[in-house]
């Protein structure tokens, strides 16, 4: 990090990112957790700017902050007040030890990493910009790009299929099917009882 503005941006974004992450994980109300996630995502978007990844910063704001978090908020709204489950009940000792061990592992990893540094290599022209990343993407990764489009279509169809719910006709069909299965099972068990007796 060379210049003071870029360092300042990093520090501010880091503080907000960690604050947002902790808010996500510790909030009692689910909507507050979603807002913490939003803060974390926007802060990381700002941090991508210090890494010369301008297009990805914009995409992060468009896709993550603008679509994924909105999706979470819609689901929280659809589920309603039950979305806030009470965090009591799971044994406090269990959660405390889980938190402790995760904290120890994270601290060990972080302490090993914090002093690593590398020589500052100048970035080439068009690094991380729309032209640079776009050329690299379409020239080097065109096939994965098309496959990801297909993945998104499949995800849309899958989400509709899973969350669709049943029309009254389908619900009636399902009920009839289940009644049939039950009748068959009852008839079979009556037969086997007859055979034994």
């Amino acid at each position: 990090m060379t210049s003071t503005p870029s360092t300042m941006l990093f520090i501010v974004c880091a503080i907000f990112a960690i604050f947002g992450a902790v808010a996500t994980v510790m909030a009692k109300k689910t909507l507050r957790a979603a807002m913490g996630l939003l803060l974390n995502i926007v802060a990381l978007g700002g941090m991508y700017l210090t890494l010369h990844a301008e297009l990805l910063a914009a995409l992060q704001l468009l896709v993550y902050a603008g679509a994924v978090v909105v999706l979470f908020v819609f689901v929280i709204m659809l589920i309603g007040p039950t979305a806030t489950t009470d965090t009591g009940g799971k044994a406090l000792a269990e959660r405390f030890f889980g938190a402790l061990f995760m904290g120890i592992v994270t601290l060990m990893l972080a302490s090993a990493l914090v002093r690593v540094s590398a020589p500052l290599v100048g970035v080439p022209e068009e690094f991380g910009s729309v032209e640079g990343l776009g050329m690299a993407l379409y020239q080097g990764a065109a096939l994965p790009f098309e496959l990801v489009s297909a993945t998104l279509v499949v995800a849309i169809i899958g989400a509709i299929a899973v969350a669709r719910g049943r029309t009254p006709k389908e619900a009636a069909e399902l009920k009839a099917h289940r009644a049939e299965k039950e009748a068959e099972a009852a008839a079979r068990s009556a037969q086997s009882q007859q055979a034994e007796g």
């Binding site: 880091a14 992450a21 996500t24 994980v25 510790m26 689910t30 957790a33 974390n40 995502i41 990381l44 991508y48 890494l51 010369h52 990844a53 990805l56 995409l59 896709v63 999706l71 979470f72 689901v75 589920i79 039950t82 979305a83 806030t84 489950t85 009940g89 799971k90 889980g98 938190a99 995760m102 904290g103 592992v105 994270t106 990893l109 972080a110 990493l113 002093r115 690593v116 540094s117 590398a118 500052l120 290599v121 970035v123 080439p124 690094f127 990343l133 690299a136 993407l137 080097g140 990764a141 990801v148 993945t151 998104l152 499949v154 995800a155 899958g158 989400a159 509709i160 969350a163 719910g165």
Partner: protein, 100 residues
């Protein structure tokens, strides 16, 4: 010689990943668990971009992060659809009480 403190970015990514993993393991609310998964994915994106800044000869890290964003969005959509379908059936999103 000027240095690029990749270690600071890696440490921040580690801390964010740890917070996300902690949230996933400790919280019982399915939605908060899904949000913790998004936190972990974001931390990995940060790490990828930091490493790409270290070796700016090609765009591989940024391309990878691009695909991580796309696939994470698809996964969030499907996961939330499952949560809605399950809630419609069982009227709860408590992961301790998941059952058939």
């Amino acid at each position: 010689m000027e240095t690029f403190d990749v270690g600071i970015y890696a440490t921040l990514a580690t801390v964010l990943f740890g917070i996300g993993a902690l949230g996933f393991l400790v919280r019982r609310n399915l939605l908060v668990q899904l949000m913790s998964i998004e936190l972990m994915l974001n931390s990995v994106n940060l790490l990828l971009l930091a490493f790409n800044r270290m070796h700016p000869g090609n765009h591989d890290g940024q391309i990878f992060a691009f695909f991580v964003i796309a696939v994470a969005a698809a996964e969030a959509a499907v996961g939330l659809a499952i949560v809605i379908a399950y809630y419609r059936l069982k009227k709860t999103i408590d992961s301790d009480r998941l059952e058939r």
